[in-house]
């Protein structure tokens, strides 16, 4: 297997993400799978930030503990990131020499060849491409695509600087061991989780999005705004998250599919609106991009700390859907499902993402858009007999829905408890019936949920359960464990609520142990499973703001297996 990992570090504002983005595209076009995660601080300039990029001839969605190549654009960062380098790895750094460090004059090249130090990142791109023997033509094409938008001159200079550095690297660096040869065209795409969610919204028939910018979900409205002239989607930056969700509720009441996106703090403000959507049975889709809290926490880092919040947010009792895509491919399809489910059942749908999913570049296979079915869940006004009862009591809780202004039928919604016509009531009998009507949908909603159970799960020794963006990491760990002779399987939950439990989990005679892996302190998903009667053997938890690495997961999982030397004295975590 050809696999190369690169860590590119520098200060915020040096264009590290551009380096990563351009390399990712060029790598994909060279026939390799690529995955890249952004690690940055909550600041505009300076500090320590990095892009971590993996190219492989096998699908990749996770990061290693140590890297083959370190590229440091700024002197102050080199020592910080050197510990991430493998013993036999290659480091290239501005103005620095040392064991295994190759001094590369990024700035000097930028000024001498390009006439401006802003081309230092083009120099880095060229250098990396030279070291890994990536054909320069692909780099040139991507650079031109990216910079011609600004001007031909800027594109030319980027190419000139990159080419100079490419040739320099080929000449000066020792040859990289796993020489990368162009493979066949993968016919895939590379995109961030946020871009995929936005594309899913477009494909899912979204027409309106309102949001207040908040890391790590801002990328969704950015992409929808950028493409709005093509798609006709209306986007609006709201004055706050309260306004954002209420605008979305208004747009949805009027009859269009609407979206908002935020993070934990913003979701707090939206919670009142979440209840309003539930009470008025107005469909809304909310992306909750998790980051470490409480309060502002670590605003640019990753965590899965808001599952309980998503499950329990809002006053009163009502059903909801919660989804958590595992990668950018899933994100697209889950967004479409979210819109369908929200429209069908007229309930809020929360999509849990996190910084790892939202900001990473993922290799994505082709979405099958021709198969996407967008159904119209509105009633035909001609089918309404007598006065329109928007909240008519039915066995399954679903009532007719019309758009205001479309016919003579009036659409009346109320945040107060209401009668079948939508008007305020304090009648206790109607209240009881309406609570039941709203909840009755939950039975049908539960049937819409899928969880993928691998074949032969009964014969495994360990079942690793994860949810959301940990899917790729755990799946890689399982591959490695299998190679070590450990009968491990994994189940990654992407459709969280209403919760579906595989029957094997509840089997009293089951032989496998369940270990839950999640990015939080209390093991929220494990507790959710436990509350449904699933016995959990152990939990692997991480809550330092960083995603799990492959090696970390493997090492931790080994502690739960028969082959681990510590096994005899090892006590699994019973939960906190």
């Amino acid at each position: 297997m050809a696999k190369t990992s690169i860590i590119i570090c520098g200060q915020a504002g040096q264009g590290i993400q551009t380096v990563c983005n351009i390399l990712a595209k060029a790598i994909l076009r060279s026939g390799y799978y690529v995955f890249a995660w952004q690690d940055f601080q909550s600041r505009i300039r300076g500090g320590e930030s990095s892009s971590r990029l993996v190219l492989s001839d096998m699908p990749v969605e996770s990061l290693p503990e140590k890297y083959d190549i370190l590229v440091s654009l700024d002197k102050s960062n080199t020592s910080v990131y050197l510990p991430f380098l493998k013993k036999d790895g290659i480091a290239v750094a501005e103005d620095e020499t040392g064991e295994n460090i190759l001094a590369v004059p990024f700035q000097k090249t930028a000024v001498e060849i390009g006439g401006n130090k802003i081309y230092a990142n083009a120099s880095a791109i060229g250098t990396i491409a030279g070291i890994i023997n990536l054909g320069f033509e692909r780099i040139e094409t991507v650079l031109r695509e990216e910079f011609t938008r600004k001007s031909n001159e800027i594109a030319d200079k980027n190419v000139l600087v990159a080419k100079y550095s490419y040739d320099w690297a080929v000449k000066n660096s020792k040859k990289y061991p796993t020489e990368t040869k162009g493979l066949k065209n993968l016919n895939m795409k590379v995109m961030t989780g946020n871009e995929s969610l936005a594309l899913g919204a477009i494909a899912g028939g979204c027409k309106f999005m309102s949001a207040y910018p908040m890391t790590p979900s801002t990328g969704i409205i950015t992409y929808l705004s950028e493409t709005s002239h093509k798609t006709g989607i209306l986007t609006e930056q709201a004055e706050d998250e309260i306004s954002a969700i209420n605008m979305v509720i208004g747009a949805s009441y009027a009859g269009v599919r609407s979206l908002t996106a935020t993070s934990g703090g913003g979701f707090c403000l939206m919670v009142e609106g979440l209840s309003l959507a539930a009470m008025t049975e107005t469909p809304v889709v909310i992306v909750l991009g998790q980051r470490p809290g409480p309060a502002t926490g670590l605003p640019t880092r990753t965590e899965q700390g808001e599952l309980n919040f998503a499950l329990n947010a809002a006053h009163g009792e009502f059903p909801r859907f919660i989804f958590a895509p595992s990668n950018a491919y899933d994100a697209f399809n889950i967004m479409i499902k979210a819109f369908e489910m929200s429209q069908k059942y007229r309930v809020p749908v929360i999509i849990l993402t996190d910084q790892y999913l939202a900001d990473s570049y993922w290799t994505v296979k082709n979405f099958n858009i021709d198969k996407v079915e967008i159904k119209d869940y509105f009633s035909n006004p001609n089918d309404i007999a007598g006065e329109f009862k928007k909240y008519s009591i039915t066995d399954d809780g679903l009532s007719p829905r019309l758009k205001p202004g479309e016919s003579e039928n009036l659409v009346v919604d109320d945040s107060d408890e209401h009668d079948q016509y939508g008007h305020i009531t304090e009648n206790n009998t109607i209240r009881k019936l309406m609570v039941e009507k709203r909840w009755n949908k939950n039975c049908l909603m539960a049937e819409e949920m899928n969880v993928s159970v691998p074949d032969g799960i009964e014969d495994s020794e360990l079942v690793l359960v994860s949810w959301g963006s940990n899917g790729g990491i755990v799946s890689y760990a399982v591959d490695v464990l299998l190679e070590k002779g450990i009968r491990a399987k994994n189940i990654n939950y992407t459709e969280i609520w209403p919760l579906k439990i595989p029957k094997e989990f509840l089997d009293k005679n089951r032989k496998f142990k369940i270990v839950v892996i999640e990015n939080n302190f209390t093991g929220q998903f494990a507790r959710l499973l436990e509350s449904e009667g699933v016995k959990i053997y152990g939990k692997i938890l991480k809550y330092d703001g960083l995603p799990f690495t492959e090696d970390e997961v493997i090492e931790e999982v080994l502690k739960y297996t028969s082959v681990h030397p510590l096994n005899s004295s090892f006590t699994p975590i019973d939960g906190r």
Binding site: A203, S258, H423
Partner: protein, 279 residues
Amino acid sequence: MLKIDDFKNNVKSAWCPGCSNFGILNAVKNSFVKLDAKPQDIVIVSGIGQAPKLPHYLNCNVFNGLHGRALPVATGIKAVNPELTVLTVCGDGDFYGEGGNHLLHAFRRNPDITSLIHNNQVYALTKGQASPTTDIGVKTKLQFDGVKEEPLNPLALAIIMNCSFVARGYAGDLEFLSEIIVAGIQHKGFALIDIIQPCITFGYHQGPWYKDKIYHLEKDYNPYDKESALKKASETGDKIPTGIFYINKKPVFPENESNLTKIAKIDKDIIYGLLKLFE
């Protein structure tokens, strides 16, 4: 031609008998008749309180949402279906207190919405606390030593912010109030109509107090002059001007006023085109 009765429904009122809200309700109905607006084409969005119950007593589309949140909901509705006539009906606590931030941004965003604010200078539904427009010194069940904060001057605030349409009406002046509401609805852009609505239960100024003080802005008053509008909005004391204080034509939100409820799907070719850029 529509009649008053076309806007009546049989929902039982929860207002105090004799409340001046009934006057405003009649003025709203009158204005709809004058505009010959069909009930199905009107959406009234309201918040929480006694004033926000008004749309329930009208035959039209209704969204009775949360305290302070009528404006964002109305903005969402109007943005996706500009063919609807959208109004908000709120109280002073609802609109100027809880919803204050949304009001500031409605001045900036300028959606084509007409906002009626029943301003009785008191929180009546929660039994008599001060509101953002209560005068300094007024003693209430909660402000035992009298209100100490400066009351909000919504008209002056709106004018300063170049609000598109700024007016004041009086609940006891039905005909004139109807005219203002008609003008507000006809105006393209955000229209703020503050309505003096004495609370018969908790109000510290009862109806008769206003009778001699309310007057109509002079016939030759020019609502396009910001300076005089500000001067009029700052008038306090024995005379309380009513009428259209300020009109300022400016671009409305959203720029592209297409009816998004009528476009069912997005062209798959557009999505394929966008996806191509990620290869």
